[in-house]
């Protein structure tokens, strides 16, 4: 059964491209354009996740979210906001949101986050992550490619761990900055590109097949096939 996502967004064009992008990724998507209708929607249809805009005409997103949580509806919620300030992120998470994305966002980020929210079952619990012949021991922090030991700095380790945990999925720049650097702002540097380049030199330069792939303008993905 397809994973079902509800998009609550009153701006028609935004709602439309979010719907298209999620559908292209195999999600079943319903769109709701106001807070009042959104209120009852999750109890009528069992959704796997909700993309909820804060600024809605009439009833705003945060109050809808609070209402859901008051009725013990634990549906995973990704908040969208045009204001995008740290305080609002905190306010949103306090109200019971699972994740938060400031506008304007990259679609890759949105998709990656929705996917993370709808991932069923526990995360990979193995202490050793493996993609092709690349392994990463999350306990000893040792990385090996085809049995060859690879030296990593602390930051490179965190980056590789994040990419390997999301193996096969596109990772956006913002998401990497947030998870690896703990930055909740866009620092406007090519920090991520440079680190990915270094990582690539270490794990890909002398090996085949190449594992780290760049998707221009959007982000990176770690997988066996190009």
């Amino acid at each position: 059964m397809a994973v079902r996502v509800l998009v609550v967004e009153d701006e028609k064009k935004t709602a439309s491209f979010i719907r298209k992008a999620l559908q292209a990724e195999g999600f079943a998507v319903d769109v709701c354009d106001n807070g009042a209708d959104a209120l009852a929607a999750p109890s009528a249809t069992p959704y796997d996740a909700v993309v909820l805009d804060i600024m809605l005409r009439g009833r705003d997103g945060l109050s809808v979210l609070r209402q859901w949580r008051q009725h013990h509806n634990a549906i995973p919620v990704l908040l969208l906001s045009a204001r995008g300030e740290v305080t609002e992120r905190v306010e949103g998470l306090d109200a019971g949101a699972d994740d938060y994305l400031p506008k304007p966002f990259a679609l890759v980020e949105l998709i990656a986050r929705v996917r993370a929210l709808t991932r069923r079952g526990p995360e990979n619990k193995f202490s050793v992550l493996r993609v092709a012949d690349l392994t990463l021991d999350t306990v000893t922090h040792r990385a090996q490619r085809a049995g060859v030991e690879i030296e990593l700095t602390a930051r490179e380790y965190r980056l590789l761990e994040f990419l390997m945990r999301s193996a096969g999925r596109l990772c956006g720049r913002m998401m990497i900055l947030e998870k690896v650097w703990d930055y909740d702002f866009d620092p406007n540097t090519n920090l991520v590109n440079v680190y990915v380049m270094r990582l690539r030199e270490k794990i890909d330069a002398n090996f085949e097949p190449k594992l780290v792939h760049t998707v221009r303008g959007t982000g990176y993905v770690l997988r066996e096939t190009p």
Partner: protein
């Protein structure tokens, strides 16, 4: 009572006292003469009268006048001092008023009305910037989303794909500018509360030093951290990291092939002092006073070689000021540029509070 009335009354009183004094002494003199003493002491007598009556009267008038003027104009000094302290950020603070209805009190009232009108205008401009940046975000979200969707179309030729990637990159740049503007507009209106936690600045500096080494590799720069003393400040760790990244990123971007970046953190006399020195074109002396202004670009000939939103240093200045610190830039064109950030150390701040 107006100052004019008050001064007139005071002056008349002082004048009357002098005249009375002169009259009393003169009458005394006349009485002595009537009692048969020789009437022809002449000049000496006259000089006596002038010395004993005239000079004290004149001195009294001068002293009284000085005292009167001083008393009347004292509020002007207070007013001047208060007006001197008025800046964009404290326009809503009123000038002191005596409330006795005199000319100076009226002047204070008028000045207060003026600053309050200015305050309203500034507020309107800030609100406008804030609303404008909010309003820009919706169309930007749509444009970015559509450009990104289009980019993934299978049917695109490589030239078309290249064009759409370029368009997306420009849109993202625009989005960053709007983000920066929103941040500054909110900061101006005091809408961004900052965390206030003890922060180990040396750890943040070490982190950004590691990032700088990586960033600098591509242009073959050497990066050094000469000193890194323990420096605990009170503040918002996220914002301080943003500040550091902002500064080192500039130091790398505005550098030259084979140049260097030198970082240094010291804790001295209750102040954490961070300096970041980089080689490169530098900033012309006439540009230095403007580097923290929004969208200021030093040399227009070189400004487009570097990708930046033109708000980085304004944001850096806001972060430093919000942490009760100072930031300054010195530059020797074609040689090096040094940014110095000073933040109060935690121990000093506790002593103060």
């Amino acid at each position: 009572m107006t100052i004019r009335t008050r001064m007139t009354v005071w002056y008349c009183v002082a004048l009357l006292i002098s005249i009375l004094l002169t009259l009393v002494l003169a009458l005394d003199e006349l009485r002595e003469r009537k009692h048969g003493e020789k009437a022809s002491k002449g000049m000496e007598e006259l000089v006596g009268v002038v010395v004993w009556v005239g000079i004290p009267a004149v001195l009294l008038s001068i002293g009284g006048g000085w005292w009167l003027m001083h008393k009347a104009l004292a509020p002007v000094a207070t007013l001047t001092e208060a007006a001197r302290r008025v800046t964009e950020s404290n326009l809503n603070k009123e000038l002191p008023r005596s409330r006795n209805g005199d000319e100076l009190d009226q002047l204070s009232a008028v000045l207060n009305e003026m600053t309050s009108r200015l305050h309203q205008s500034f507020k309107r401009i800030r609100e406008f910037t804030l609303h404008a940046s909010h309003e820009l975000k919706t169309p930007l979200t749509i444009l970015c989303g559509e450009a990104e969707t289009e980019m993934h179309h299978e049917s695109l030729s490589s030239a078309e794909r290249e064009r759409s990637v370029n368009r997306l990159e420009e849109l993202r740049r625009l989005a960053r500018i709007v983000d920066g503007l929103t941040l500054l507009a909110k900061a101006d209106s005091g809408l961004i509360p900052l965390a206030s936690a003890p922060v180990h600045l040396e750890e943040l500096v070490q982190d950004s030093f590691a990032d700088t080494q990586v960033l600098a590799q591509a242009s073959g720069l050497s990066v050094k951290l000469t000193t890194c003393e323990e420096a605990i400040v009170r503040g918002d760790p996220h914002r301080l990291r943003q500040l550091l990244l902002n500064l080192v990123d500039n130091a790398v971007k505005y550098n030259q092939q084979g140049g260097s970046v030198v970082m240094d953190l010291r804790a001295r006399n209750g102040t954490a002092e961070l300096t970041i020195t980089n080689t490169g074109l530098g900033i012309a002396p006439e540009g230095l006073p403007h580097v923290f202004e929004r969208f200021y670009r030093g040399d227009p000939a070189h400004s487009h070689e570097v990708d930046g939103c033109g708000l980085g240093l304004s944001i850096a200045e806001w972060i430093v000021t919000a942490h009760r610190g100072t930031i300054q830039i010195e530059s020797t064109p074609s040689k090096f540029t040094t940014v110095t950030v000073r933040l109060p150390l935690l121990s000093e701040m506790t002593k103060v509070s």
